[in-house]
Subunit: 204 residues, 2 copies
DNA sequence: ACCCTAATTAAACGTTTGTTTAATTTCAAA
DNA sequence: TTTGAAATTAAACAAACGTTTAATTAGGGT
């Protein structure tokens, strides 16, 4: 197996759980079952390792929204449904990576990294925004605050999944309920957001 | 002046900016202009210092929602308006503390601290939930997903303010725009959320 | 079988970490 | 003025940190 990938996987796990400064290079090495020196050898430094991780994961989340926007056979609300499902899938797929990005964003260390992350998170922002504005111009949607509407979509998912403890308490679930792996919850969030957006956007 | 308070203020600033593990005791001491040993002297340890900080701030954010719910002269949507304004005020007042709490929540260190934080954040959750449910039973509100509705309110604000960089990029503002201190933005978020909740909750 | 480069290792590097120690200063009560 | 507890300090502590070094191993190309 590829040792670089093994290290990146261990890094993802530990940075996700304990954050960048909360994780030591030695911990990562132990998790990946490699010698600590291998991390410097392959990545140069802990910080470069972080950059590599974000880069790799970001490439994974390539934006496919641009195509959806252009599709002429779909109504605007149908396009939005696709985007909602896409967001829900994405965050449920790797909530820890999502946390990692937002944790980094909310801190005042490594400003260049913050810029890169904002770039990644907003990659699809433009497409969604354009789509909603098209919907408004076409008369299908009400004249809403476009930017904040997007914040509501992503923010709802993000807040709900901000931690397993929090999610369980909010939804009054018992301890063995695993929010991140619950398909039921995922569907519930998707359906809720679509209903929210219907009443928010569609002209009665 | 009270040295304990000086240290707590410095801690708030630095933990907010760089996180718990990202801030050293010596940095805090320098910021507060005290000897590093004073932190152990007054608080015992860095972790206890953190607990003291959260405790102090949490007391500051005491829940006043219970009274609002009982008030018979207000309609349910009016009660919700008050709660929305309260949330907006709260997060805009000290976004860095808000970040600090959520950062800690999203990490798997110090589980007891996580429980305490979830407790604080959900302190008003029950009141809001009850209020929405009352609104549904009285026929004023549609039968919505109560828990996720609350997640939308808090999540929207939280996501928008997740970082100054992010906020500026989302709203396409220039570099000298300070989101956290913009009264205009605060009002915009409040108005947006009220409109969102009107269309989401009120029966046409 | 030889060679060379890449991979891997244990050990050590110099810093920085949170915390403690032991000595000193401060200052109000006696 | 003396006394004693609280406050404050500089220095030192051991442990952990990210990283480097220097030596060794591995393995395909010639």
């Amino acid at each position: 197996m590829d040792k670089r990938q093994t290290i990146l996987a261990a890094t993802m796990k530990l940075f996700g759980q304990k954050g960048f400064e909360g994780t030591s290079v030695r911990e990562i090495a132990a998790e990946a079952e490699v010698n600590p020196a291998m991390i410097s050898y392959y990545f140069g430094s802990k910080e470069k390792l972080f950059e590599n991780l974000v880069e790799q994961r970001a490439a994974f989340l390539k934006g496919v929204f641009a195509e959806v926007v252009k599709n002429p056979t779909l109504s605007h609300i149908e396009k939005l449904y696709i985007m909602i499902d896409s967001y829900v899938d994405r965050i449920f797929l790797s909530p820890q990576f999502h946390h990692l990005l937002h944790r980094e964003l909310s801190m005042e260390r490594r400003p260049q990294m913050k810029d890169a992350i904002a770039e990644i998170l907003l990659r699809n922002f433009v497409s969604v925004k354009k789509m909603i504005q098209d919907g408004i111009e076409s008369g299908e949607f009400k004249k809403v605050d476009t930017e904040l509407t997007i914040a509501s979509i992503v923010g709802t998912i993000s807040y709900l999944l901000s931690s397993e403890v929090m999610c369980r308490k909010m939804l009054q679930k018992n301890k063995d309920f695993n929010p991140y792996q619950s398909r039921k919850l995922k569907e519930r969030v998707g359906e809720y957001l679509k209903e929210l957006m219907r009443s928010h956007l569609l002209i009665k």
